[in-house]
Amino acid sequence: MAKVTFEIAMKQLEQIVQELESGNLSLEDSIKKFEEGIKLSKYCSAKLDETEKKITLLLKDQDGNIIEKPFVSERLTE
């Protein structure tokens, strides 16, 4: 799943959910889809966590202080 972007992963996940929800799959196919879906969802989750951390890091300056703290946080929490 090296080159898959988050968006593609999400699209695939949605596709899988739709397929699973349609109920037209065989057990083997559904379990295959299910596994794939869980993988994709975990991947997305990890990606989101990572991204969240990145943002938190970006919002900190070199001294570890959040830049423009009162101001920025005010905006971010609105």
């Binding site: 988050f6 929800e21 109920g23 559904s30 879906g37």
Partner: protein, 441 residues
């Protein structure tokens, strides 16, 4: 190259430029005619001699300063500049100064010298040196005794006190005044120090101002490399020195005002500019700061997108679980249904039926075989019963007996059929006897 075809305006404007540049400042004399003073108060006339005429104007301001009233037929001399009035295609001389021609010898000498120096170009604007804006060293050539010097010093001191002043005292009237002034100008020019000089004298008659109307002074002024401001006599006095100097101040006081700027004014101006610098750079900084802060404020963190995505991902995850569990549940139900049917169709149930059937058949054959047996037994029993009653020996019970031969078992019914001594069997009711024939009867 083709000849250039002028428009009237083009040509006229070229003529105007040409004439006005060529004759910016000239001396001229002639006779006044056609004098008119319109409502505006400016003086219009024609200046003529035997063979030519030129239109002339003196504006109201200059007219007021004249020491005489110009009249038709009056011979006059004056200086001014040539101007072209384009919309009429005419040219005229605009007088700065005008005086009646030929009054006294001094006057004549004055006029002659003026005309001569003018002709030599000593009064030309091109020769006039620029005055320094802010001189540090000022040379004053004047009488050390008169009030003029003090007026000048006080005015300079008031306007711009931080300046060096070198006073070269000279006589300003009398025999040696001319050479004094010339020497002073020359002396001044040997010094490295002055940035500008003032030659000053108070008001006086033509005779008293004679030194300033001398050719040597005029030439000394002209040759001076230090710019010279003349402040001689009253406003109405025009000396040769005035004409030749780099700047003519109408009075000595005016010369003092001209020579230095007002220090306070400058200081205020610098302060104002300085403040303006601060204000503007602060404004720029604030402007940029505000812009930056606004932009920083508008940087939308993708956090909200992430949060949306987290919710979506969780929802999808949940739906995967639900749908998968549903699929399994459905399959399980289907399986349970089929499995129930399978178990329901367990062949066990037929086995019981078969067993019952077999038992039934077993019962039937058992029953049948019994009936067969019984029937046969009955038949036999019947035959046996009949046989029993038909037993031929039953008669013996009544005392009869049956005699038979041995071993042929022929019943003996005729004694002739036996021999004496022959053994015979006699059957009785119970048992039998073996007897021998003793005799025949």
């Amino acid at each position: 190259m083709e000849a250039h075809i002028y428009s009237v305006t083009e040509l006229t404007s070229e003529i105007k430029r040409f004439i006005e540049e060529r004759y910016p400042f000239i001396w001229i004399y002639g006779e006044i005619s056609n004098l008119t003073v319109p409502f505006s108060g400016h003086l219009y006339f024609t200046l003529k001699d035997e063979s030519a005429r030129i239109n002339a104007i003196i504006f109201k301001g200059q007219y007021k300063n004249l020491k005489f009233n110009p009249e038709n037929g009056m011979s006059v001399i004056g200086f001014g500049r040539l101007g072209v009035y384009e919309s009429k295609g005419t040219y005229q001389i605009i007088f700065e100064y005008l005086e009646p021609k030929g009054i006294g010898s001094l006057q004549i000498a004055y006029e002659q010298l003026k005309a001569k120096l003018s002709a030599q170009g000593l009064f030309d604007a091109s020769h006039k040196k620029e005055l320094p804006f802010l001189p540090q060293n000022i040379c004053i050539i004047t009488s050390p005794t008169g009030s003029v010097l003090y007026d000048i010093l006080n005015i300079i001191n008031r306007r711009y006190p931080n300046v060096n002043i070198l006073i070269i005292p000279v006589k300003v009237q009398g025999d040696s005044s001319e050479s004094d002034i010339v020497a002073a100008i020359k002396l001044m020019n040997t010094l490295s120090f002055p940035d500008v000089a003032i030659i000053a004298r108070g008001g006086g008659s033509l005779e008293e101002l004679q030194a300033f109307n001398s050719e040597s002074v005029a030439r000394a002024i002209f040759e001076s490399s230090v710019p010279i401001i003349s402040g001689i006599g009253h406003e109405t006095d025009y000396t040769i020195a005035d004409f030749v100097s780099d700047y003519r101040a109408s009075t000595p006081s005016v010369a003092a005002e001209i020579v230095v700027p007002l220090r306070d004014e400058l200081k205020n101006k610098i302060d104002k500019l300085d403040r303006s610098l601060n204000t503007n750079i602060t404004k720029i900084l604030n402007y940029n700061n505000n812009n930056l802060n606004k932009l920083i404020g508008r940087i939308k963190s993708p956090k909200r997108i992430i949060e949306d995505m987290i919710i979506k991902n969780d929802d999808l995850n949940r739906r995967i679980l639900i749908s998968q569990l549903n699929i399994i549940k459905q399959l399980k139900n289907r399986f349970i249904n089929i499995n129930n049917k399978l178990l329901f169709n367990n062949p066990d149930t037929y086995i019981l039926q078969f067993k019952e059937y077999i038992n039934h058949m077993l019962y039937n054959i058992s029953k049948t075989i019994n009936i067969i047996y019984k029937n046969n037994a009955h038949l036999l029993h019947q035959s046996l019963g009949k046989l029993d009653t038909l037993n031929p020996k039953a008669i013996l019970q009544r005392g009869y007996s049956i005699t038979r031969t041995i071993p042929d078992k022929h019943i003996v019914t005729d004694s002739n059929n036996v021999n004496i001594g022959q053994k015979l069997e006699v059957l009785v009711a119970k048992g039998s006897l073996i007897c021998s024939v003793e005799r025949k009867i």
